[in-house]
């Protein structure tokens, strides 16, 4: 599997996600935001975490309009896989690839902590290595992760099963305490209509090693590698 990680000025978790992809058996190349084409043979586009353009405007607003994003939109339109993590999720929302928006956290502060997520479905290219309802232990690190959408959008996301992950406690129950950024319906990640684009606030790429906290994040990257391998076969 060949992954193209888009690097914007201010991206800062591109190395972390590259490590996770390589560990799962993928090839990862970095692509500069000012380029206009993805490398030939790109299977997966990753928009990494960070503070693109300093997040001085709305998070992801400038990056969502970067040169490379036309190629990313075209890749998605062809059914290609796109993963946006943290700032990448914000960029996906700003670029029109996913609905809704990420607002300031409910407590108005940046928060970095370990976080349980419930995997809402396991029949996608991103989550096949998990089982539905599994609780995974990852981490969050964001100031603007409060997922917000209008009523119709929310109803559609829920109705069509497009919620990928929800914030929950260790038992898999969604509570106010476990949804610390205040996201609507405790949404931590969502899919596009065709399930080929995933945006999520938490960082699975930082939970790939027992020594540094755990390995629950590996499943996502392995799922992606397997899904591409299955397509090729």
């Amino acid at each position: 599997m060949k992954a193209a990680i888009i690097v914007f000025p201010g991206s800062n978790r591109e190395g972390d996600v590259a490590k996770a992809l390589v560990q799962a058996g993928a090839k990862a190349v970095k692509v500069w935001h000012a380029d206009s084409e993805l490398p030939p043979g790109t299977d997966l586009v990753v928009l990494p975490g960070g503070f693109s353009y300093g997040d001085y405007l709305r998070c992801g607003a400038i990056a969502g309009r970067a040169n490379i994003m036309d190629a990313v939109r075209a890749h998605a339109a062809r059914g290609g896989l796109v993963l946006g993590i943290c700032n990448g999720f914000q960029i996906l929302c700003e670029s029109g690839l996913l609905p809704g928006i990420l607002m300031r956290n409910a407590n108005l502060r940046f928060i970095c902590h370990r976080q349980f997520l419930r995997v809402e479905r396991s029949d996608t290219a991103f989550t096949s290595e998990y089982r539905k309802g599994k609780v995974i232990d990852v981490c969050v690190a964001h100031g603007e992760g409060n997922y917000t959408a209008d009523y119709e959008t929310l109803k559609r996301l829920e109705g069509e099963g497009l919620v990928a992950f929800r914030y929950c406690n260790a038992q898999g129950t969604v509570t106010d305490d476990s949804n610390r950024n205040g996201s609507m319906n405790a949404i931590a990640g969502i899919y596009s209509d065709k399930l080929n684009v995933l945006g999520m606030m938490p960082h699975p790429e930082n939970l790939i090693d027992g020594l540094t906290g755990g390995t629950d994040g590996r499943g996502l990257f392995r799922s992606l590698v397997q899904s591409i391998a299955a397509q090729a076969a």
């Binding site: 000025p9 201010g10 800062n12 490590k19 503070f51 300093g54 502060r109 940046f110 970095c112 540094t212």
Partner: protein, 737 residues
């Protein structure tokens, strides 16, 4: 615009922070009256912050060498060899005065400055730490300052992309008018790819890189060298504004440029901006420097030479480049969207010449700007020794379990989760031990090595006895690294003191330095970088003497580290080190008995080394994975923290009746560790300790959900945790003080 030929009056000299005799020294040096720009340049070079004129004499007694030291004090950061062709660059620096005036921006620029110091040497930052001291919780400004500083520290590091892995956080009324914000950065660099500030070669281009120059921060370094008064708020315009996004670009651009073999010398523009950086590059390389200010990228219209030379706009660098590489270098900077301008060149004149609009605005001897800076042997008096308090003389006013519950929820000992959750401590994926333990542990690249990082000082000990307090600060840093499994290698010191022109405050500085030096020598723990922040006084009241020690240690195999959390039930809990029940200057005495008295615990450096080496070997051999050092609050607090971190209780054995129980539990004797080991390995460890001359005692066993202090009803770990976790969030929400 202020004219360069403005007559230099005594008032103008005073406004620049120069004493009359210092001004005379300047006139004698150049053989005439200075121009306004020259006065500005010299005031920047000769203030306390840049010249260390009060501390230099005493700093030179600190040990700075060891076989593993590559670069000691005097560069942007200290550098130590960590093997495998790699080196670790690190430094700590204060940003106290600006943070009191404008907490968010003061803190961000403090973090930005120290990160820049590290990557200026070619090192990619891999971790940040800090030490924050605020006034008493009840003071009306404290909440606002805490909120702003913490958000600022996080705001910069999070965006820049470095994990903030550790630090200190405390309150005391003596910081009411003068908080402390000390920031530390740690980076990795290949041993043969280190960059230095010394310029080389005549006629080489001097290049300005990074953000544009504005009017912010003019006289920031002078502000940092003066006492505060009620008008300090008016100094807000001298506080710089941090831009972590620009710094991240600057980092990537600089590291990319360094790989292209274009850079001869590099210096960041920190305190006193263009002035300090250009002078240091020239002076260190025995070269002159000529600058043409018409070429400096400016953010604002009509800036004078004086303003450009003193601006402390952030995220700027100065480099001397190989002339043939200029185009290549420019392309890299343009790619990152940063300014790149050749603003001058090196000369063989040993003069520092500044031109603006065709006119010479300053022409000064470059070496003398640094070498001839005033040097003072300020009068200093030692702090009178305080009597030792016997454990028997302290009567326990409340039961020990109540004392412990009170201590875990006290402002200084409560959980700092509210703080460190605002810092991204997980980015880069190498954080092995997060904030909240002893030293933080980060893996080095793909391993197997790791670094143990800590920042420590106990200001109340330094106040009571500067020499012992100085020793203790170093010893505690050494101990925290040891408790995590690291071999302590070197320190950076951030010396925060009051007005050196007061002999008592100067005595505190001298005393602490004596203690620091003694401990560093005894523990082979040299000082490789540092910063001095004096004049931390407001309306004549000084802060507690606070020499913050940032320590770095190495783990050869990072998988063999120890953390504070109890990990199993039925472990035997051992106390390593001698307990005399030392309650003088303890938090038990102050928080529970309301007495701030006595001599602080004495530091036996030989015992410290013996006990620490023993514990480290247990971790390194893989026998022990659970260790906590004993510091504030003694054994009781150490054990409580271990129980809370692991959600496992502990039952104390019945102790010998040689000491009052509360002294045994809460005494702050140094050189001690609590170690939790599987029952089957305990006898062998006790036996080996005996042979090594290391005091070691069985004090209890882990298990259950409660902490059973001797002779008292148990406290559930849940109750402890609630008390421990609640105080800071409710205080910040305005619900307690």
């Amino acid at each position: 615009m202020i004219r360069n030929d403005t007559p230099i009056t005594p008032e103008l000299v005073k406004e620049h922070g120069l004493k009359p005799d210092e001004y005379e020294r300047l006139c004698a040096l150049i053989g005439r009256e200075p121009t306004l720009t020259e006065l500005g340049i010299v005031s920047a070079m000769w203030n306390e912050h840049c010249s260390y004129k009060s501390s230099r004499l005493h700093l030179k007694n600190l040990p700075t060498e060891a076989p593993w030291v590559i670069q000691g004090p005097g560069e942007n950061a200290g550098i130590i060899d960590i093997g495998d062709g790699l080196a670790c660059a690190f430094k700590m620096e204060s940003h106290n005065h600006p943070s009191f005036i404008e907490p968010y921006q003061g803190a961000t620029t403090g973090v930005g400055g120290i990160l820049r110091d590290v990557f200026t040497m070619g090192a990619r930052p891999i971790a940040a730490l800090n030490a924050l001291r605020f006034g008493e919780p009840a003071h009306p400004k404290t909440r606002h300052l805490v909120a702003g500083v913490v958000a600022g520290v996080g705001g910069y590091g999070n965006s820049f992309g470095v994990p903030t892995v550790g630090g200190q956080f405390g309150f005391h009324p003596r910081y009411n008018g003068n908080i402390l914000v000390n920031a530390m950065a740690v980076g990795l660099v290949k041993k043969d790819e280190i960059f230095y500030a010394a310029a080389a070669g005549v006629g080489n281009p001097i290049v300005y890189l990074g953000s544009k120059t504005g009017r912010d921060g003019i006289h920031g370094a002078t502000m940092a060298s003066a006492e505060f008064d009620d008008k300090s708020e008016e100094k807000r315009p001298t506080v710089q504004v941090g831009d972590p996004f620009a710094e991240k670009l600057l980092l990537e651009a600089c590291l990319e440029l360094m790989q292209s073999d274009s850079v001869i010398a590099i210096q960041d523009m920190g305190a006193a901006g263009l002035t300090c950086s250009a002078v240091e590059m020239g002076a260190k390389g025995n070269l002159g420097v000529e600058l043409d200010l018409d070429k400096v990228p400016c953010r604002e219209e009509g800036m004078s030479a004086y303003e450009m030379m003193l601006s402390e706009s952030q995220e700027r660098m100065l480099m001397v480049l190989k002339p043939e590489k200029e185009k290549e270098a420019e392309a890299i900077f343009r790619k990152w969207g940063l300014d790149f301008a050749v603003i001058g060149f090196t000369t063989d004149t040993l003069r520092f010449v500044v031109k603006h609009k065709g006119a010479v605005m300053a022409d000064l001897p470059i070496k003398e700007l640094g070498d001839e800076a005033p040097l003072y042997d300020r009068p200093h008096v030692p702090t009178p020794k305080k009597p030792q308090i016997s454990p028997e003389s302290v009567i326990a006013p409340i039961p020990n379990r109540e004392a412990l519950l009170k201590l875990v929820a006290s402002p200084d000992q409560c959980s700092k989760r509210w703080v460190w959750e605002q810092y991204d401590h997980l980015i880069l994926g190498n954080t092995v031990q997060s904030p909240g333990g002893d030293a933080a542990v980060v893996r080095i690249q793909e391993g197997p090595k790791g670094l143990a990082l800590t920042s420590d000082v106990t200001p109340r000990y330094c106040e009571a006895d500067p020499v012992e307090g100085g020793k203790q600060a170093v010893a505690e840093a050494w101990r925290n690294i040891t408790a995590s499994g690291g071999t302590p290698l070197a320190i950076t010191d951030n010396l925060n003191f009051g007005n050196p022109e007061r002999s008592e405050a100067m005595g505190q500085l001298v005393g602490c330095l004596e203690g620091i030096g003694e401990a560093c020598r005894a523990l082979s723990f040299p000082v490789v970088s540092g910063n001095v922040s004096l004049y931390n006084e407001t309306n004549g009241e000084g802060i507690l003497p606070t020499p913050t020690i940032g320590g770095v240690g190495l783990l050869e195999d990072v998988t063999r580290n120890a953390s504070v959390a109890f990990k199993r039930g039925q472990d035997i809990v051992l106390l390593i080190g001698e307990t005399t029940g030392w309650l003088g200057q303890s938090i038990y005495l102050s928080e529970i008995c309301g007495r701030v008295e006595g001599a602080p615990p004495s530091v036996d450096l030989a015992g410290e080394k013996r006990n620490g080496d023993f514990v480290r070997e247990l971790i390194r051999s893989g026998e022990v994975d659970t260790v906590h050092d004993c510091s504030d609050g003694g054994v009781a607090l150490a054990v409580a923290e271990m129980a809370m971190a692991g959600n496992i209780g502990m039952v104390f054995s019945t102790p010998p009746e040689t000491l009052p129980l509360h002294a045994l539990l809460f005494g702050e004797d140094q050189a001690r560790y609590v170690v939790s080991v599987p029952a089957e390995t305990a006898p062998s460890i006790l036996e080996r300790a005996k042979r090594a001359g290391v005091p070691a005692f069985r004090i209890g066993a882990t298990g259950g959900g409660a902490l059973h202090l001797p002779k008292e009803p148990p406290i559930s770990v849940a109750e402890l945790k609630q008390a421990h976790e609640d105080w800071l969030p409710s205080y910040m929400a305005g619900q307690s003080s």
